[in-house]
Structures are given as C-alpha cells and as structure tokens.
C-alpha cells in the first residue's frame, strides 16, 4: 500500500472501499456473514463457528463473504453471527452452536425460512 498523500486521497479511498464493501446494499448474490470475535465471542467458541461456516458455505456452494468483527454487546448470547442476505436487512443470531450454524445456512440462507435465536437489534447508530 502506498501512503495516502492528502485528505482528498483519503476521501477517494473511502468511496472506493465503501463501494467494495457494499455496506447496506449487498450485491445480488453475495451473502455477508459476520462473526463476533472479541475475547467474549472467542471464549464461547466463535472461532470454531467461523471455521464451520466457511467450510459449510464452500460445501454448499454459497457465495458468501465471512468476516470477523468486534463485540455487539450481547454477551449473554455469544457466539453471535450476523447474516445479511442480498437486498435484506442484517439479522443477528445468538447462542450459535454448530447445530444452529447449520440451520442458519440450510434454513435461513438457502430456504429463506425464519429460524430460532434471532436477537433484536437494540441500538441506534450514529447515522440514525
């Protein structure tokens, strides 16, 4: 990476990354999955869940971007997984063990069914 030389460069970089990351408007076929991986999540088994999700998505040929994030604050329900289907609002699932992770992929992502363990988003963002 070459250095960012000016504020204008930074602004351009932002638009570039913003487009790439398609925040809020997922591309048509891409499923975005975020796994809460702060100390609390990892201690509850988030690493294994992330690995499982990567393998399972590959296995089922789901076009997904799976990444780690920090803490959403719902410590009581760790591990947490957030899924954003194309053209939908993100949905957060709590208490995700392998069984629920499998259900997230097979029932929620593939079949589009509602599944157990959804945690309501309980905060406003700075842009609300």
């Amino acid at each position: 990476m070459s250095k960012v030389k000016s504020f204008t460069d930074l602004k351009n970089l932002k638009s570039e990354y913003h487009k790439k990351q398609i925040f809020g408007t997922p591309a048509e076929s891409l499923v975005q999955i975020k796994v809460g991986m702060a100390t609390c999540g990892i201690a509850s088994g988030a690493k294994e869940i992330k690995k499982f999700l990567i393998e399972e998505c590959e296995h089922q040929a789901i076009d997904a971007e799976i990444k780690q994030t920090g803490c959403l604050g719902y410590c009581y329900a760790e591990p947490m997984v957030e899924v954003q289907l194309p053209d939908s609002e993100p949905v957060v699932f709590g208490y995700v063990d392998k069984k629920r992770a499998k259900s997230i992929i097979e029932n929620y992502i593939i079949q589009g069914e509602e599944i157990e363990g959804e945690i309501p988003i309980s905060f406003k963002t700075i842009n609300d």
């Binding site: 504020f7 970089l13 609390c40 920090g70 905060f123």
Partner: protein
C-alpha cells in the same frame, strides 16, 4: 419484550460492524476523516473549541472536561509533549475499553493523533494491561496498517504533521489506572501515585506535558469532529453530554455491553435493556463505579444517570461497570468483597489506605461472622471517613465508598447482623442456624450419617439433635432430610 432502541452507539459505533484487523473497513466508515478534517480545515484552537463545545467529559471515571484538559496541555510550553491512552481497565466486571480496542482499535489511534495535533505532541503511548492479549494484538495490527497508509508517522496526509504511537504494557495493577501511577509505571518506576499538582498536563511522562485520556473518551472524539459538537451535545443531560458505555453484569438477564445516552434511568438500563433480574427475583441494588463507587437502592431506579447525579447519590460513574444485585445478595458481604479487592490492589505507599483498609476489612469480617456490635458500625463510618480524607490518591480516597454507601442505604442489614445475629439474605454462613424439629424427625439417621463433622447425634427412630458448637453450616443435613424436619434460620 425489551424496548429495542434505548441505546445509541457512539463509542461502540464500529464494534460488531467492521473487521478490526482491516483498516479498509475503518476507512469505509469515515475512518481517519476526522483527523483529515482537523489537519486541513481546523486550527488547533478550533479543534479544541469543538471538543469543549461538545461537552465531552472523561469516561474513565473522573468526568473531567476533555476539551479543557487538551487546552491546558496545549498552553504549556515544552519542546516535547505526549498523548497517553489509559487502557488499564481494572474495575471488577468492567470490559468496555477492551471491547472498543478489540472491535475498533483505529478509532482510538485516530483520536490520539487528533489530540496530538491539538496539544502539539508527536508521540502517543497506549498503556494497556498485558492481560488483554487480543486487544494488544489488534492494536499492533492497527498501528502497523496506519503506518503503512501514512496515517501515522511523518507528514500525515501531506500536512507536515508527525505523529506515531507505541504500546506500553502494564502488569494489571489497579492503581496504575491512576494517571500519575500509570506514568511512573511507563517510566519503569514503581506503579505508585504521586501528589497532584503538578498535573500530568504540566509535568507528566519524562517530566513533559502529557495528556492522559481513557479509551472510551478517545473513541468518542472522531464522531464529535465528523458530526459536529452541536450534534453530540444534544444527546445527554445538562452537564453530562453524549453517551456512556456500561458493562452490565450480575443478576441480570441480558449480561452485556450497553451504550446509552447520559440521563437514561437505571430502571431503563436494568429492565428495558437488561431484561430484568434473573429468575424474576426482586431488584435490590446496583453497584456502579467499581471498588471506588457505591451501591444504589431501588429508590434511585428513576434517577437519570449522569456524573453529578451518581455522585449526589453516593456513588460515581467510574469507568462504567454496573453490577446488579438481587434479594439474595448480602450487602455487608458485598462491601467486604470490594474491600478485599482494594486490599489486594493498594500499593501500600500511604498508611491510611494500607492499614486503614485492612482494619475496615477486619471489622466487616467480624460482623459477617456474627461477632459485630453496634459500635463496630460507628467505627466503620469514622474510619472510612479518615481514610477518605487522608489517603494520597484516588484509590485510597474512594476505597471506603462501598462501605459508606452500603451503610447509608442498607443500615438495617448491618443492624440485623450485629443486633439480631441474622443475615437477611442468608449469605453469611456463620449467622445461619440449622435445627431439627423434634416432632417431624423420624430418626431415620440419614442426616447423622451424612454430617461431615459428626455434629448430629441421636438414636435410631428417635429425634436427632445438632450440636451448634460443632456445626459448620454446610447444609448437607438440610438437603438430605426427606421429612422437612430441618429448619434454617
């Protein structure tokens, strides 16, 4: 169903949203924009004025106005100044700083650079406890990436401003969260506080002017610059602006991290966001401010939470630990627990803290063992006030707070211990008494056979008896009896 939108995430805005190990993610969320804006559009004074106008106060506990601190440090003439981030989070049950560093490390780096620009420092140091390995790892990655992007280092964004950040590790001593002790620890000296003034803003790290702020304080700064002081200061109460992150723990259903506008009531935090008390038990108290804070009763449930209201209620904001207690918690034992923590963590430099707290602990021990008197409660109060008045640093000055606030709010519980020899919550083992009801005892010998200390005597098919002088109150007989013939009082 809990009310879902009582929280606003400012300091935690990116936690759970971005990958903390990808600077690209942070930049996509307007990362380093505030720094760019300050360096290219604002003078140092304009930036400080913006922070002052926002009303941001130190989130580490003291609540000192952040903008004013920056201004004081800026106005000291020196060839070298430092920006220090206090990441020595030590209150039992508090983990908001760790979550910010693990979820959004760049926000802290960016704010430190902004602070450096304002006060005229080109060097930042993050004092972080070595017990936070993941936070350290992510900070290291973040610093490396920021350097690669030229957002730390020399000539940042082509403006000629230089700023770089290094990490310093603490060994996890509570007293090192006190800023003078923290600075001594960074200098390689013993982590002991020294008298203020001089304040670090005048003479801090290596004797140079040093601006120390807490993680959460820094994490709020970029938002203030990006969205404007006027946006920020509309949130909160008259004297406490913005939001505060609380680590909600204890007997509460939704244990977790919450960020609420200042002025939110305890009831909203405990019931609407926290989902109420575990097993539907009755709320008794909430402890805020950690070992320096106090216990609030249900009378304070509708008090808006801000710096000044909490102090008026006999507690303090602290760094944001919030431990919820229910009817089964003994307040004398709670006071004893916090004092044990202080005893462990006292650096031992000044006598009131080192010996005074030890004596306080002994009196509490005496009370929970059933040997206390009413005079002991008076002695607790007098000694607490002496420790408060004469200790050297904040640790000692605030260490009796849990004792004083539990006496103020739960004196009846102390009296029950010393006058009636009872622990209303049933927590103090020495004050429990197991008895066998003669009429109900069938003489089955089950309790006799299970008692680990041979305190139960009696013939088969005849009532048994417990020798109170031998009983260790383990409760095995109570659990084993099939005829409910054993009472616990």
């Amino acid at each position: 169903m809990t009310d879902t939108k009582k929280q606003i995430r400012i300091a935690l805005r990116n936690c759970g949203l971005i990958d903390p190990e990808q600077i690209e993610d942070y930049i996509a969320q307007d990362g380093y924009f505030a720094l760019g804006k300050c360096l290219t559009e604002y003078t140092q004074d304009q930036t400080i004025a913006e922070i002052k106008e926002s009303g941001l106060r130190g989130r580490g506990g003291g609540g000192f106005p952040t903008g004013l601190k920056w201004e004081i440090t800026k106005n000291v003439e020196a060839d070298q100044k430092f920006v220090v981030c206090n990441a020595d989070e030590g209150d039992p049950g508090a983990f908001m700083d760790r979550s910010i560093l693990e979820g959004d490390p760049h926000s802290v780096l960016e704010a430190m650079a902004i602070c450096g620009y304002c006060i005229g420092a080109d060097k930042g140091l993050i004092y972080i406890r070595a017990e936070y390995p993941l936070a350290i790892e992510r900070l290291k990655i973040a610093i490396k990436q920021a350097r690669e992007f030229g957002l730390l280092g020399n000539d940042i964004l082509g403006t000629g401003f230089n700023f770089d950040i290094e990490l310093r590790y603490g060994a996890g001593a509570f007293v090192c969260g006190e800023e003078t002790a923290l600075i001594h620890s960074m200098e390689g000296l013993r982590g002991e506080p020294t008298f203020k003034p001089p304040f670090p803003s005048v003479s801090g790290y290596m004797g140079k002017p040093t601006n120390v702020n807490n993680v959460e304080t820094f994490a709020s700064v970029p938002v203030i610059i990006n969205k404007g002081a006027g946006w920020f200061n509309k949130i909160g109460t008259e004297k406490s602006k913005g939001t505060k992150v609380f680590a909600l723990a204890g007997k509460i259903n939704n244990v977790g991290l919450v960020e609420v506008p200042m002025g939110t009531t305890l009831r909203e935090v405990v019931y609407d966001i926290g989902g109420g008390i575990v097993n539907g038990k009755e709320f008794k108290s909430v402890q805020t401010g950690g070992p320096s804070g106090g216990c609030l009763t249900k009378d304070f449930l509708d008090t808006p939470i801000d710096y000044d209201n909490l102090v008026a209620a006999g507690s303090m904001m602290g760094s944001g630990g919030m431990i919820v207690m229910d009817e089964d918690d003994c307040m004398v034992s709670i006071a004893k627990f916090y004092l044990e923590f202080t005893l462990e963590e006292s650096c031992g430099k000044c006598t009131p803290c080192r010996i005074g707290n030890k004596r306080l602990h002994e009196i509490l021990e005496k009370i929970t063992e059933g040997n206390g008197t009413e005079e002991d409660i008076d002695r607790l109060k007098v000694l607490s006030n002496v420790i408060k008045d004469t200790s050297l640093c904040g640790l000692g000055q605030s260490s009796p707070n849990p004792v004083l606030s539990t006496i103020a709010n739960f004196e009846d519980e102390y009296l029950a211990h010393v006058k009636d020899g009872k622990c209303p919550a049933g927590q103090c083992k020495s004050l429990l008494r197991y008895d066998i009801i003669e009429d109900l005892c069938t003489g089955c010998t089950l309790c006799f056979r299970n008692c680990p200390v041979g305190a139960i005597t009696g013939e088969r098919r005849a009532p048994h008896f417990i020798d109170q002088s031998l009983c260790i109150k383990c409760g095995v007989c109570f659990e084993k009896c099939k005829f409910d013939a054993i009472t616990l009082t």
